[in-house]
């Protein structure tokens, strides 16, 4: 069966069917992300003072990634414009940049994720005195990095400190080796905490610049709670990972479709050029939507 109106506009709507299709899909996407944005608002305004995590993401990296995504959006429309003039080579060039930008965006995002997975907050049973910039403060909550046996471990939590016994199957074969308990670990303390205001945080960071971060030894028996910056850390990180991961999946999906049309699917340019242009346009509409989501996501997650 032939799908109707893939290249020519349908007389009553004035547009080809795939365009109606993508806009209906984008409408559902607006509701999907809308639901998450409204969850964000509710979690944020409902957070008691000092519990909302902020200032933990790298703003220059996030800004750079925003530039990468905006660039990829403009190369999509430039590629599409080139096709309208019949300039296939120029289209190939522009969409190659789009695909590279998508890969760069995901690469940078993965790097940011990995960085969070080995960044920790530790809640202590008894307060210690640490430096926040040029001020000395007494606190039982520290942010920083763990060093244990020469390594910076990922995904640790309170449970990990106690270790786990080995696991055997019913024949007595060891299927999971025992993880020894951690007695104490080195902790490099950040000169800030998210209970500070953004301004205090910036001042403390500036004052601490050029100085080596304080290193202390923490005994596991002194730890009330230990948590890497993963969704379990707080509602902030939960909504951060949910929204950016869903957005990242959209980037991945969009990039795969654009790559398919650009590469193996490009045969269609010879057989049905108008339909090919329409495919490029429709994939582009999805791509701009992904850019649009990021335009809102970036300030609310990184800046506010």
């Amino acid at each position: 069966m032939e799908i109707p109106y893939t290249s020519k506009p349908r007389p009553d709507t004035g547009i080809y069917n795939a365009k109606v299709g993508i806009w209906l899909f984008l409408a559902s996407e607006v509701m999907l992300f809308g639901a998450l944005f409204s969850s964000y608002i509710l979690l944020r305004v409902g957070a008691p003072d000092g519990t909302w995590v902020h200032g933990m993401l790298n703003i220059p990296i996030g800004t750079f990634n925003t530039f990468v995504l905006i660039t990829s959006s403009v190369t999509v429309v430039l590629g599409w414009a080139a096709l309208q003039l019949g300039n296939f080579q120029r289209y190939k060039f522009y969409q190659a940049i789009t695909i590279l930008c998508a890969v760069a965006f995901l690469g940078i995002k993965s790097f940011e994720y990995a960085d969070k997975f080995k960044h920790y907050e530790v809640w202590l049973k008894t307060p210690v005195t640490v430096k926040h910039g040029d001020k000395e403060v007494q606190t039982d909550r520290l942010l920083g990095h763990i060093e244990y046996q020469g390594k910076h471990p990922y995904f640790w939590n309170t449970h990990r400190l106690a270790g786990t016994p080995e696991v055997r199957d019913k024949d007595g074969k060891v299927i999971k080796a025992a993880v020894p308990a951690v007695e104490a670990f080195k902790f490099t303390v950040d000169p800030i905490h998210y209970t500070m205001s953004p301004k205090e945080m910036a001042q403390a960071r500036a004052a601490a610049k050029g100085h080596k971060h304080e290193e202390i030894e923490i005994k596991s028996t002194d730890v009330k709670r230990l948590q890497a910056f993963v969704p379990a850390h707080s509602t902030y990180f939960a909504i951060y990972f949910t929204m950016t991961a869903l957005h990242g999946l959209h980037v991945l999906g969009g990039a795969l479709v654009i790559f398919y049309i650009w590469g193996p699917g490009a045969k269609m340019w010879k057989t049905d050029p108008q339909r090919y242009i329409n495919r490029v346009e429709v994939s582009g509409l999805f791509w701009h939507f992904v850019d649009l989501v990021w335009i809102f996501l970036f300030p609310i997650i990184y800046l506010l």
Binding site: G14, I15, W23, A27, A35, H288, I295, L303
Partner: protein, 117 residues
Amino acid sequence: MSDHSHSHDKGGFHAHSPEEVSKHVKVYLTVFIALLIGTVVTVALNYLHFESKALTIAIALLVATVKATLVACYFMHLISEKKMIYLILGFTTFFCIGLMALTLFSYADFPKNTVTH
């Protein structure tokens, strides 16, 4: 070639005149620059640390909305679309506003003395 801005001569597809396309390309590049500037402005304002939290949020969301509008209007061509698309988006806008409004109503109706943590 015809006097119309559209012609049907290039191998079965709807070819556009070079003048028309280059006009569009200029718009795309202008929007691109505007988006870059918008991003720089948002980030720069954030480093200023306004006293008022409401002002900080309002400015960041205002710039984001302007950027999003530019993308939707020019990159997604909503500035000159067919009625069918506007109809779909009309429904989307209605339900999206409804979604946000319900969220805010539920927040306003939060029972007093609720333990949140």
